[in-house]
Amino acid sequence: MDPVRLPLPVVDAAPVVPAVAKPFVHFAVLDDLLNAARANSLWPLTFGLACCAIEMMAVGASKYDLDRFGAGVFRPSARQADVMIFAGTISRKMGPVIKQLWDQMPSPKWSIAMGGCTIDGGPFKYPNQYAIYEGADHLVPVDVYIPGCPPRPEALIAGILRLQEKIKKGEKGDARP
């Protein structure tokens, strides 16, 4: 009778500092240029799941205008998108679809978990919940988490800027295996 439970990620007590592999040849300028270009051209996938999608639309609209940061080109095809913004609750039925969409996106790709639902289930989390995935990181690696229910548009912009910083520094996502 119990729904299939996903194994929760095991978190070590002491934070492990990842060993950064030093590339043999470092194309410093070229890499930096490419990273800067990537950071400034984050095309999100047109993909809304629930409430947060409306705020995502609001961010794309006149008052907040995500296009200022070069991130306003919402691409409906996963093949042409760079960043997946999880905007809303991820239901059990939706999980496989999201996995497939993520696999369809070309590398390098990033993801933003927008809102409480995609962080840990948010307001829909309760013991024995059967309908949702408690967090987007059960499915795909997440680069930036934005709290809120739904996060305000300013918060999403801050999240995008945080992702830009990360890309410019050449950091890989924390949750990236």
Binding site: M1, D2, P3, R92, K93, P127, N128, Q129, Y130, A131
Partner: protein, 156 residues
Amino acid sequence: MSPASATPVSLDGLLLESADADFAVTGFHRVHSASVERIGDVARAYDEGAYLLEMITCEDRREDLKAMRLVYTFNRFAGDLDRHVVTVDLSGEIPGAEAPSINGVYPAANWFEREIYDMYGVTFSGHPNLKRILLPDDADFHALLRDFGRMEDAES
């Protein structure tokens, strides 16, 4: 269907019980109960009276002596508001009780019945497309049954 053609429903002989209800308190004008065999006829009578099917739902009343109960509410656009509720008690295993589908009378019942099948495991005979609607196709549980997924169970 025009307002003038709205006729009162004749439900003579189709119901087990019938009573007036206080609309101001319960939100229903009349409360009926019917046997599971006659629900198709009841629906047909309402359809002839140009009523609409507002919703169908199901209750798992295991802690309340009776087992499963289907709840149909009918209303009308024309004339004054007249909301009727028809309850149908089901016998049989849980999950796995059976009831006839009224999809042939009200196409609206299609999705409601699928939802009840999905959530309570009630099978509707004569339904053209009885499969899960909200939960994934491969789910092996009926989510709104009383003994499934209770918060207390997880805490203890």
